[in-house]
Amino acid sequence: MAEYSAFSLLANALKGNKDWKPAWRKPDPKASYDVIIIGGGGHGLATAYYLAKEHGITNVAVVEKGWLGSGNVGRNTTAVRSNYLLPANTRFYEHSMKLWENLSHELNYNVMFSQRGCLNLAHTPAQFDDYARRGNAMRHLGVDAELMTKTEIKRLIPALDISDSARFPVVGGLMQRRAGTARHDAVAWGYARGADRRGVDIIENCEVTGFLRDGDRISGVTTSRGDIRARKVAVAVAGSTGRVMQMAGIETMPIESHVLQAFVTESLKPFIDTVVTFGMGHFYMSQSDKGGLIYGGDIDGYNSYAQRGNLPVVDEVMSEMLALFPGLARVRMLRSWGGVCDMSMDGSPIITAGPLPGMYLNCGWCYGGFKATPASGWCFAWTIAKDQPHDLNAPFTLDRFHRGLVIDDKGQGANPRLH
């Protein structure tokens, strides 16, 4: 398959763009594979890609019930960052960041990762210290972080209200310059194309309806396109984790599925350059290359698989938006949508072998799965290939909850609604 480049674009343009080939094949499922990955989202596709690239395992199928990338990889607000408090998280997301930094090259697909920075605004001196704790934690793990003063922030984001009369005045912020945004769909497409080029079968419109077993061991899946056997079955279905695990007979999990809404305004000329977050609420925002302001807030706060948001959260997000950017009152929200998030009991993910023999599980991404995509795939592939976790995902076990080894960045305890 042809490499993408400025030259290929020009050559194809001269031929009326008639020679472009599909970005990935549309194969029918084979009877069996070495590895089946359930879920053709960002994490599943990245896992397939790294299985092939890093571990030479290419007899792999990714099965997706709908169209590829129809889950959260196509529904998020595109932010990429590694500004976590707790070391296990920071190390993992920093590994992801490093993969992001070379991803377009690696995939020969421009995922438009743009390191325009992520700024967390602090609104009280106590919160500023809290952010300093986090920033210092990052620095002690070799991750970039810096504090910004109000004046520096105003220079960076002129439209931001930094007046002292604001209800929650800005006192400063924590900036990660290497953070940024990426074109979400392109990540799915790029990994899909990359995996496909290495021989992975990507099978869309193929819904898993159950698991095949060989004694205790999971040995494949039943699907809407027939039974498919495999030595290893990996689950990377994010918001659908509860449903899929129930098919395997596991009724309860340390997971609740919640809806997170996202919003975009009409296209505007450049308004804001970085990702910015509000410290006295849940609001965050960036601007896409097309010009739309992309933003969101808190999860709706109750179990849902409906990809349907509620109105109070819409109102809350917009109120917080205008608290920071009062000039946006006349700008208009163009579109809203919902994604189903697998909220874990400590706000951190699960990447592990098990819980059943022959099964591998990747879930619990809460609303932060997009930025994790490369590292999640990378670590999950490692775990599947070697039947043991890499150091980076070793803390993200399923039994950590019971053992009291939670990784609770927000300190909210077993209350998914608050993570």
Partner: protein, 997 residues
């Protein structure tokens, strides 16, 4: 020739002239004009530039679905970008400008993008800009360099940063029936439901009710349809049970029949009324909904279909019949269905020459031939438009014979001179709200349209929304829907009679004419038919992939006119029927919604302010306030010239030397009452409360279910069955919910009531060596000596004639008392205490001094109880009763919670005598260049006047075992490194002799 205003016709008021500007040029229009109709009347053909190629664009529509004519409306410095000119009602003083052009709309430098059209095809950005693999532009740098320019070229209008002075409001409404859309169907539904006595709301996004009746020129009950609509509306307006909402877009259909609507209350006014909002956001809970939202006309896809002067047929009909504006002098039509013929007649009547009607269908009905004759138009049956000519305005077009069976073009092209081309590609019912409500649309092959699904919520459709495009059907369905929605029975009665031009509602299944040149599907985003086919070649064939890969339907009009043609082209490429490609589920909002309206009353007022009873006194006495959650608390009472540090050091020092007083009213206070109150507290707290004597208080600790520390505070036993619990300020609400949950869900058998009494009591904590003397000087009705008021004792008395409750407890480590009075007496008591304290050197102190003294004492607060620490981590394990289970007791000893390397609370003393920073980390060995191996962090720090040192509390790995050892602060963020000694968190008076007195 050019567009112009006709001498008669339309509902504009020709006697009323309105002055406005567009791109700095002064124009006039008439009352009733939109910006689009007023400019069109002045011969303006160029309204905007497209997103990608910056092609010149004119008006495509006359309504909310307009993709091309987007303007920015200016109100002083406040900008409202991306508003369709078709939706702006002009008023005197209106200032509008065009967008996405430089230097001007007529001469736009970015129009060079058109030259790269073939390269700038769908997917362009994904295939390039990856940049070099090494060198200074490796990684993301090359892309970011290019992106800088791409971002500047992208975007439509500009947002401003000036705060909008306008007011936005929210309105909660309840009704039996909400009718959306006020065409004949909506009006009939409203009337029918209202006649049943139902509470009805009628919303329409246009300023004038009536929908198609306003421009169809049909006759209803013998009168022009517009008059019938006006009369019907007037009747409805007079009824108590009907609320009419013009200029109101119902944009969201949420769960349980909750609908969201935006009313543009005063956008059309030069001067809004006093207190009148600009926009009002209606949150409507409707028992049932009638969807009478009509249909959108579709464009046809052919080369040059985006040239200014090419317009939807019904839009031209609207301009002529509603606004008295002719969009051209020599008009041609291109259609695949009958509805365009009515437009031909209307334009002829309004005074234009209709030069040609090209119809892809070879056979036309006699009725259509008659209408064409009426319009004096030459018919070209079995023909298609294959090209348009002209620059910033249309000058002509080319026709060619068209084979309906296979889409082939036959024979020579023929040129026709025209300044306006009207097109009609059939109609798509406006099913957005029904789709939002949760169901999937169904394709109807005859109508060539997606029709509304079966309701998943309580709504009923009527009129064109259901695919019933005739007015007679709309009227019948409207009434039936209104009746059913109101729960009424259908009774046989006369329906209004309609005289309408005839027409077959089913179009020929033709969406695209494939000829040489760019044929636009999505006008705003410049998505061409070729782009759709390219997406197909590259495998982006599902409807969502098509959208995302090409950006089809993602523009400000959200594909209202482009979705179906785009799908049709993809379906053809795939060789599948349209429904197998799929339809996208529509998401809110139906049309873009101002963010101000959604923030509504919280724009400029995000959160309420919570004030203590003594708030005004603090302000009047020099306090600098600190925002803590929703509360405001004094941070310091600074003297002139003092820094914050000087102030808190002075306040803390004075407190330890004589006495200080602080407002503690914000502490959470919960009345815990009932026969089982003591037993309940034993379960809630880690320590015992049933053994607490009446008239005494005890410090208590709560854990979460998972065994981690949750909150702490003192609880006072006021009576055998009556406790007053205090919580930290930050956790008051959480603790309340925690208690309520256990009482309601887990232990319903306990007879305990909990009530928030935070606001009932004003609290003043007075502490210091002279505190008791001060109290003795002002308290009556009780002694405050050690015998009457021992440590943790409670007495009741009076201060200055007001009843107070005094508990002797200490946060500062001094001999201290909390004086509680009714909140309405708070300032009175506070003043009396301050007055009584004057001879003793009493100072008022704020949060900073409070924090300083608590650090000196090593007490924990929210910075240490951060949701990740255990009682052991905080050295509070002495509070974990072994005599009883309590919330968290079963879980608190899990392996992870008792590990030896956990972060534990310690004290730090700066050995370099420099200030420490909150959030600084602790390391064993400093490495300023590459900080690493953090062993903990500072949770709170201050200069301690009592110790004369810079000290801090910190959480450090295996902290207790490190007492007496040296470590370093490592704060690369603020470049502060230096040695510290790790000590016990109890810096000051560890045996508590001062507080016990």
């Amino acid at each position: 020739m050019s567009p112009r205003r006709a001498d008669t016709g339309g509902r504009i008021d020709r006697l009323k002239t309105i002055r406005f500007t567009f791109d700095g040029t002064a124009y006039t229009g008439h009352a009733g004009d939109t910006l689009a109709s007023a400019l069109l009347a002045k011969g303006v053909t160029l309204y905007g530039r497209s997103f990608k190629y910056h092609r010149p664009r004119g008006l495509l529509t006359a309504g909310v679905e307009e993709p091309n004519a987007l303007v920015t409306v200016l109100k002083g410095e406040v900008r409202e970008p991306n508003i369709p000119a078709t939706m702006v009602e002009i008023h005197d003083g209106l200032v509008a400008i065009s967008q996405n052009r430089f230097p001007s709309l007529a001469w736009d430098i970015n129009a060079v993008n058109q030259l790269g059209g073939k390269i700038l095809s769908a997917g362009f950005y994904y295939k390039t800009f990856m940049g070099p693999v090494f060198g200074p532009l490796k990684g993301t740098r090359f892309w970011m360099f290019c992106e800088h320019f791409i971002r500047r070229a992208a975007g439509l209008g500009s947002a401003g940063s000036a705060k909008d002075p306008a007011r936005y409001e929210r309105m909660n409404a309840f009704c039996d029936v909400l009718v959306v859309g006020s065409g004949p169907a909506g009006l009939m539904a409203t009337k029918a439901a209202a006649d049943q006595g139902a509470r009805v709301m009628l919303a329409d996004l246009e300023p004038h009710f009536g929908g198609s009746a306003n421009w169809s020129e049909e006759t209803i009950d013998g009168a022009p349809a517009a008059d019938w609509a006006r009369r019907t509306v007037a009747q409805l307006a007079g009824r108590d049970n009907v609320r009419l909402l013009p200029r109101t877009t119902v944009w969201g259909y949420y769960d349980n029949n909750t609908l969201a609507a935006l009313e543009r209350v005063s956008d059309h006014k030069e001067h809004p009324g006093k207190g009148e909002p600009r926009h009002r956001y209606w949150a409507i809970r409707a028992k049932s909904v009638v969807l009478a939202t009509g249909a959108f006309e579709r464009p046809l896809i052919f080369p040059g279909n985006d040239r200014p002067g090419v317009m939807l047929a019904h839009a031209a009909e609207r301009y002529a019949n509603e606004f008295g504006v002719l969009p051209g002098e020599r008009i041609a039509l291109f259609t695949n269905n009958d509805s365009a013929y009515r437009a031909a007649v209307a334009l002829k009547k309004a005074g234009a020459a209709v030069v040609a009607i090209a119809d892809v269908r070879p056979e036309l009905s006699p009725e259509m031939r008659k209408l064409a004759a009426e319009a004096e138009a030459e018919i070209f049956a079995g023909h298609a438009v294959v090209a348009t000519e002209g620059g910033k305005a249309l000058s002509g077009l080319k026709l060619q014979r068209f084979d309906l069976a296979n889409g082939a073009l036959i024979g020579d092209a023929r040129s026709i001179h025209a300044d306006c081309l009207l097109m009609s590609g059939g109609w798509s019912p406006t099913i957005h709200l029904a789709s939002q409500a949760g169901a999937k649309a169904e394709w109807n092959a005859a109508r060539q349209a997606f029709l509304p699904p079966k309701p998943t919520q309580s709504w009923i459709g009527a009129g064109a929304f259901t695919g019933s495009f005739s007015t007679a059907e709309a009227i019948a369905e409207g009434r039936a829907a209104g009746l059913a929605a109101a729960g009424g029975q259908s009774t046989p009665s006369m329906l209004p009679t309609v005289e309408a031009v005839p027409g077959d509602p089913d179009p020929a299944p033709v969406f695209e004419i494939r000829a040489k040149g760019k044929s636009f599907v999505d006008f705003q985003h410049d998505v061409t038919a070729e782009d759709v086919r390219l997406a197909h070649r590259e495998g982006f064939v599902s409807v969502e992939h098509l959208k995302r890969y090409t950006t089809l339907g993602m523009a400000t009009d959200q594909g209202k006119s482009s979705n179906v043609p785009g799908l049709a082209i993809m379906a053809e490429a795939l060789g599948k029927p349209i429904p197998e490609v799929g339809t996208t589920r529509f998401r809110p909002p139906f049309a873009p919604v101002s963010i101000g309206s959604l923030a509504a009353e919280r724009f400029g007022d995000l959160k309420p302010e919570r004030l203590t009873p003594m708030h005004d006194w603090h302000l009047a006495n020099g306090a600098t306030m600190y925002s803590a959650g929703l509360w405001y608390r004094p941070m310091i009472y600074g003297l002139s010239g003092e820094t914050v540090e000087q102030a808190y050091v002075r306040e803390a020092k004075a407190t330890r030397e004589s006495a200080g007083i602080v407002d503690v009213s914000t502490l959470g206070k919960i009345a815990v009452q009932g026969p089982d109150a003591a037993a309940f507290l034993d379960r809630v707290y880690t320590n015992m409360f049933s053994t607490l004597a009446v008239g005494k208080a005890r410090y208590g600790l709560m854990l979460r279910e998972d065994g981690l520390a949750f909150d702490d505070g003192t609880t006072w036993r006021l009576g055998e069955q009556d406790f007053l619990m205090t919580t930290t300020t930050a956790n008051a609400g959480k603790v309340m919910q925690h208690l309520e949950y256990f009482l309601d869900v887990i232990w319903p058998e306990l007879k305990v009531h909990v009530t928030s009494v935070t606001d009932e009591w004003a609290g003043a904590a007075i502490g210091g060596p002279k505190a008791r003397q001060i109290l003795a000087a002002c308290v009556t009705g009780t002694s405050v000596d050690n015998a009457t008021l021992p440590f943790m004792g409670i007495v009741r008395g009076e201060i200055s004639g007001v009843p107070v409750m005094i508990c002797r407890l200490s946060f500062s480590g001094e001999m201290a008392f909390e004086v509680y009075s009714g909140a309405g007496h708070g300032t009175h008591v506070w003043k009396a205490l301050v007055e009584a304290g004057k001879p003793f050197g009493l100072v008022t102190y704020g949060l900073e001094a409070l924090g300083t003294m608590r650090i000196e004492k090593g007490h924990v607060t929210g910075a240490e109880i951060d949701g990740r620490t255990t009682a052991r981590d905080l050295h509070l394990d002495w509070m974990l009763s072994k005599k009883k289970p309590f919330i968290g007791s079963a879980m608190m000893d899990r392996e992870g919670l008792i590990a030896s390397d956990r972060l534990e609370l310690v004290g730090l003393i700066a050995l370099d005598n420099r200030p420490l920073n909150g959030g600084a980390h602790i390391v064993e060995e400093v490495d300023e260049a590459n900080p690493h191996d953090s062993i903990g962090h500072i949770t709170a720090c201050c200069y301690s006047p009592a110790l004369g040192r810079h000290i801090a509390l910190a959480l450090v790995e295996g902290g207790k075992a490190r007492h007496g050892t040296r470590a370093h602060v490592s704060d690369p963020l603020r470049n502060r490194f230096g040695p510290v000694e790790i000590v016990s968190n109890h810096f000051f008076d560890p045996d508590g002799s001062r507080m016990h007195g």
